[in-house]
């Protein structure tokens, strides 16, 4: 990842310019920046404002509304757990509690060492295989607290590539919450 402010700006600009869909809006530009950088740095918000010829306030107002945007650099891995009603009745809560405990977190968020983001998703779209999770965007169904912890360890030990590329990114939710 680029660390200099100018580098970040250049990347954001490129993402905005090359966004894949025909109609460019503030929202589509924000999604493009987040997809490219993994989050929305201040430089990214500023570039979106310039591109759309509007104020940073306006851009920020939209960015802050959608919970899939994040404003700090992402952790190395992302683990998502569905807490939607199907997964709830099929046992999502023990999975969540187990993961929170293992990660030393009290709520969804990043571990202090920046290794893992735990996200709660309202529905990963694979309710037929509830309870469902994803590890670096790889979907996994029929989970249990044990399987969840095993999956987490596998991630942390580097068995799976961090931020699986396009082949691995077959998920109901690429966004962060």
């Amino acid at each position: 990842m680029t660390t200099t402010s100018d580098g970040v700006r250049a990347k954001a600009r490129e993402a905005i310019r090359n966004q894949p869909y025909k109609t460019h809006t503030i929202l589509s530009s924000l999604l493009a920046v987040q997809d490219a950088l993994g989050f929305l740095p201040p430089e990214g918000l500023d570039e979106v404002a310039r591109h759309r010829n509007t104020t940073v306030n306006e851009v920020w107002g939209i960015a802050s509304f959608y919970p899939n945007f994040r404003f700090t650099a992402p952790a190395k891995h992302v683990v998502e757990v569905c807490w939607g009603p199907t997964c709830h009745v099929m046992g999502a809560q023990p999975i969540l509690r187990g993961l929170l405990q293992r990660l030393g977190l009290h709520a969804e968020g990043d571990t202090p060492d920046g290794a893992v983001t735990l996200k709660m998703n309202t529905c990963l779209g694979v309710c037929a295989h509830a309870p469902a999770m994803s590890f670096d965007h790889r979907l996994a169904g029929h989970m249990s607290p044990q399987k969840a912890l095993a999956g987490l360890e596998k991630l942390r030990s580097g068995d799976q590539p961090a931020h699986a590329g396009h082949d691995g990114a077959r998920t109901a939710s690429g966004g962060a919450r």
Binding site: Y66, W83, G84, C127
Partner: protein
């Protein structure tokens, strides 16, 4: 037939015949399949085919609907029965390739069903409990074709409907056909599609939009995404027909960001149609021009509401607009617009191709055609079913879904998503009909049916639904913004055994205010889960809320933030700032129960 369609059809038929001339292996790699491990199976299959030097076509198809059987591998080898292997593991792949594909001996012990031909001891697919009784219209190609192949779609009758409309029907006739078919919206409000189209057709603006809604935020529903990842061309064809019928210039498919397969496949289907002259200028040489594109939105449930959707397409916060003006007058970018659900549009090609009479012959008096139900929860055969309206919920759940798998009693179904309701088991004989279900307080909504057995606490599940409604409230109007927070607090108290004597009354007052005073369906319907749960399980609620020893319900780990940045669980500030949320708003119209119906 137009001159332009003929060669396309001929090419498609050639491709189709070619596919059947050698081994063709279809693997369900929709979202559902991937969650069950289809990715690893596909990898193993490709490796095994090359290791054993077999010349076979491998297609990634979307989902077949038989989610319980995934990973599902469908093997067609000329001269043998086309066989569906269920719950396939990567380890099984080598033998399937060696015995079925190479030696032409299907493996009966691993087979779930045959799709063509017969195999000793293996049922035909149509006789599977989950398939028997299905009528597949919108899902007609599910699991049959490669979602990215225009030729395969056309070979199965694709674009015949569009060709028929463009070559032989006036715009008015198409609108009338859809109206006569009795098709009603499948996005929740069940409004007549033909009537809705006639509003847009009546507006003579040169730029008009058809919006196809795949926000699909309802947890428990996955049928819109399934259509887009399994058969995106049916949506694209339906949208072009809708454009022709209403005189629209542009179609927009609206999908939640992050749903990789539906987005990717829809985008590629649109591109393929441009290349084939099915989109763009002078479609099929008939002079009709129409453009389509994909638009993405961030995570927001309310973005599925039609006016919020228009805001999101314009790149803003997905907050609903005040109506009137209605979308058919002022819609996206200020232009006249029509919004339909993905399923609704996906019926259109077959309605035009086979005629209104055929479609209207399926279903009940007022609910025509089929519905796509998503079964999940405590059920033997979770998955996707397309069934004619008019069958009973009992048949759907107990026969087609196989009933509760562990022998426990089914307690209720959660239907219609987080703004829907609870249908107690005692009412399972209800016929699947939009009007009958909404009269019973259980909307059919988008088709999600979550089966809950006797171990499920109704208070607990109601709390989860309200946690969802509270988190997703866009915050634009206070009856919903505060009401959902307040209801959640009361339910939290109930679960913790801290209910106050006035809580039941308070819930009722808050709920009535939400219904009467909210701007959009989110707030207007947000009390539904509570009211329907209270109606069906009053005793359980009262016991939980009395101080005579409530049953403990473990604390709920929920997401941290709402859209307004407030703490969601525990003591939200609402209770302190607004101790009695009791402004007594009166209903504006008596029709407020069905607020999303118009437009």
């Amino acid at each position: 037939m137009t001159d332009a369609y003929q060669p396309l059809r001929k090419r498609a038929d050639g491709v189709w015949a070619g596919l059947h001339a050698k081994p063709w292996i279809r693997v369900s790699t929709g979202l559902q399949g991937m969650a069950a491990g289809a990715g690893e199976v596909l990898e193993a299959l490709r490796a095994e085919l090359s290791r054993q030097r077999v010349d076979a076509t491998v297609s990634e198809v979307g989902t077949t609907g038989l989610c319980y059987a995934e990973p599902l591998v469908d093997v067609h080898v000329p001269g043998t029965a086309r066989t569906l292997y269920h719950n396939v593991t990567p380890e099984q792949v080598a033998r399937i390739v060696a015995e079925h594909v190479k030696a032409q001996r299907p493996i009966a012990e691993w087979a779930h069903a045959t799709a063509d031909g017969t195999l000793e001891g293996v049922p035909p697919r149509g006789e599977l409990p989950m398939m028997k009784g299905q009528v597949r219209v919108a899902l007609r190609n599910a699991g049959e074709i490669d979602p990215l192949s225009l030729e395969q779609y056309v070979a199965r009758g694709g674009f015949e409907g569009l060709d028929k409309a463009l070559s032989g029907m006036t715009r008015e006739q198409v609108v009338q056909e859809v109206r006569d078919s009795g098709l009603r919206g499948r996005g929740g409000a069940a409004f007549s599609t033909g009537t809705k189209w006639s509003f847009l057709a009546g507006n003579k603006s040169p730029i008009k939009y058809i919006l196809c809604n795949c926000e699909e935020g309802d947890p428990g529903a996955f049928n819109d995404k399934t259509i887009l990842e399994t058969d995106p061309f049916t949506l694209v064809e339906g949208c072009i027909i809708a454009g022709y019928a209403t005189g629209a210039s542009n179609g927009i498919v609206f999908i939640r960001h992050g749903h990789h397969e539906p987005i990717e496949r829809t985008t590629r289907a649109i591109e393929a149609c441009y290349e084939a002259g099915l989109l763009g200028k002078n479609i099929l040489g008939t002079g009709f021009s129409y453009d389509m594109e994909v638009s993405l939105v961030g995570e927001s449930y309310v973005a599925g509401e039609e006016t919020a959707l228009m805001e999101a397409v314009e790149g803003k916060r997905s907050m609903p607009r005040f109506r009137p003006p209605f979308p058919a007058a002022v819609g996206v970018w200020g232009k006249p617009s029509n919004i339909n659900n993905i399923k609704t549009i996906s019926y259109v090609p077959e309605i035009v191709r086979q005629g209104a009479k055929w479609f209207a012959g399926i279903g009940t008096e007022r609910s025509k055609g089929t519905v796509i139900a998503c079964l999940s929860g405590h059920i033997k055969y979770p998955g996707l079913l397309e069934v004619p309206c008019g069958i009973t919920m009992r048949h759907l759940v107990e026969v087609m879904g196989g009933g509760e798998p562990s022998g426990k009693r089914i307690k209720f179904l959660q239907t219609g998503g987080p703004l829907g309701g609870m249908l107690p088991a005692a009412q399972l004989d209800m016929v699947l009909d939009f009007d009958e279900m909404s009269r019973a307080g259980a909307m059919f909504g988008s088709g999600g049916l979550i089966v809950c057995n006797e171990d499920t606490s109704i208070v607990d599940l109601t709390r989860v639904l309200l946690a969802f409604d509270q988190m997703e409230s866009c915050g634009k109007c206070f009856p919903c913004r505060l009401g959902t927070s307040h209801l959640l607090e009361i339910l939290e108290r109930a679960c913790d055994g801290r209910s106050r004597p006035t809580d039941l009354d308070l819930m009722d007052r808050v709920g009535r205010n939400m219904r009467a005073g909210s701007l959009c369906g989110h707030g207007q319907l947000g009390y539904n889960p509570v009211s329907s749960a209270l109606k069906a399980f009053a005793d359980e609620f009262k016991a939980q809320m009395s101080d005579a020893g409530p049953i403990p319900i473990p604390p709920f780990v929920g997401p941290r933030s709402t859209r307004r940045g407030a703490q969601m669980t525990g003591d939200t500030p609402t209770a302190q700032v607004y101790p009695e949320f009791v402004i007594n708003l009166q209903p504006v119209t008596t029709a407020s129960q069905q607020p999303t119906a118009a437009g």
